[in-house]
Symmetry: C5
């Protein structure tokens, strides 16, 4: 049985995991979903690592939320490097969903971004874990975006 | 018996460990608390690693203090990456409390931030180590803050 | 038989893999090309790692696309560090093709850069994997550029 | 017998090792001091690693010097991450003394900073290696500074 | 017999390896020099790693060239971290020569910097590999520079 880890934070201002789990349950009703909640983005790498090592997840999705300050961006960088390390140490995908507070002009837009990004990346996760390395190839170079409408490919 | 590491620095201007230990002793009277004090934030990763490897701590909390200059921020980034590496190497949580001198308008506010952040993260540590991966899930996406009042979730 | 990994993203706005594969098939008709498509640049390191570890590729080329914002640049940095780690962990080359949206004045120029860079780096890959460590030595210090015309060496 | 590594650079403009060795010899007359000089700050991590692995040092102090430009700061960041990695790989402390050329208004002040920082961190090293994890605890949160007068704790 | 690796790039605008090899051949006529040319700076870490692991080099010198843009600087940072990792994984020195295009006011000066830096670091390599950890100690804190005239120590 497929095991899917969902790691999220109490720092986030949107319960993105709810939307991710909804998508996962719709498309993979037999998968086991294992959730891990931590305080903030810098705790996500260890949560992802434990979901893979201790809970035997086949793939993980992390749901991070980042403030607008320069310090927040450095934390984002450290967390991003950590999440890549987790993948290299375990040879599993960790799909990294991150919302930055300075991406949107107001809370309403931020909420839309968070929900859209979480759902679309849940679909990415499903494609990768069920379809493998070429499941996303029909969309390669197509300018897909999560959190925003797709921009599409540049016309050749 | 639970062993909890507390790593702090002589660079900090507030004895945050005192507040952390107070919270830990109130909630986990039977836990053993093992303290490790180092000069500055870049020494925290090795202190955390030793607390786990040599002192057999089940979890660690680090209490860092960062100056306002660009150089300080780079040190913060290096230390943050290091603390994440410690966690990935040991599969243990290291709860990272950091106070930045440019977060507050004066010393009084900085003191309040330091104490509040230390106490709240001590509670996070307790929840994670006693309740496990879903102990914080009721607060996921709730916009919790340490050092400041919670901002709360965005209304959906 | 030579196995060559091609990792690309759905975020990219140009299907660079198409141009890479064209070059590879022309020059190495007997090589097996194994493609891996992921959502974005931060997913490329694990794709490259899996292409080497699981699909036994002898060398990999990654095709990244990076937005213009500061956040995008931090993601680029994390991905770059990750791609270097992959190489150090596997002792294989991962040729890293990256296009930045702020490199060009308009989409037309961006398209030209992407195609030129992808093709030229495909040739670099071929030289390295078939000719070894000195295959590129005749061009050392010659100011070669991918995505732009070569600038040439400084006249001595 | 205690073995202490001292790693320094030819790039530095002050022979900080002289002051470090003076302090070490006064306080630990029986310790063996092993010196390693490299060109610049990015060579310090391997010097520290070799001092621990090949020369069996129990602890190392590195004496770095960093220019004022943005490039220099990136080198500082890379070196800092490297020095933390050394510690995590060896489970030994590496006390990192760094002087930045833009810290002072003139050479005289820079010299004072370098000497003060080197001496004070030599004392930190001595306390850590002879007194262990709580040797510095009486100074935790006390706002100690190296290179400058202590700023002291914030009044509670 | 001593084996010395020389890794360089086709991106560079000066054939720095030529000057390095000249110095090496003059001072170490019996050493074997093994060259490895790659496209750009981010490929240098794997070249250095392979020179050590596969070609059994005792020490490596890398010759990097970095453009003037912010993106180039991030690539420099990633490469620098990678080169430090190579050293920590192999316990060998990798002497890192890097020229930044924004260091000089014109091409002529850039050429001078590149040649001077390459030659001086070749001498550093020779001293380290033949004289060991204290070969450079007479120059510690002496304000040596590569690519520029030495600035000398601050007068005490």
């Amino acid at each position: 049985m497929l095991k899917i880890g969902v790691a999220d934070t109490t720092f986030a201002r949107v319960d993105m995991a709810r939307y991710v789990i909804e998508v996962l349950e719709n498309h993979l009703p037999n998968a086991e979903i294992i959730r891990y909640t931590v305080p903030g983005i810098k705790d996500l790498p260890i949560a992802a690592k434990k979901l893979i090592d201790e809970y035997k997840c086949d793939i993980v999705i992390t749901l991070g939320w980042v403030g607008a300050s320069n310090i927040d961006k450095l934390s984002y960088l450290a967390a991003s490097i950590g999440l890549i390390m987790v993948q290299l140490l375990t040879n599993k995908h960790v799909i990294d969903v991150t919302v930055h507070e300075d991406e949107a002009k107001d809370e309403e837009e931020l909420l839309e971004i968070a929900i859209d990004r979480a759902k679309k990346h849940a679909l990415n996760l499903i494609r990768l874990i069920t379809g493998g390395r070429e499941a996303l190839t029909p969309y390669a170079g197509k300018g897909l975006r999560q959190g925003r409408p797709d921009v599409g490919p540049i016309k050749e």
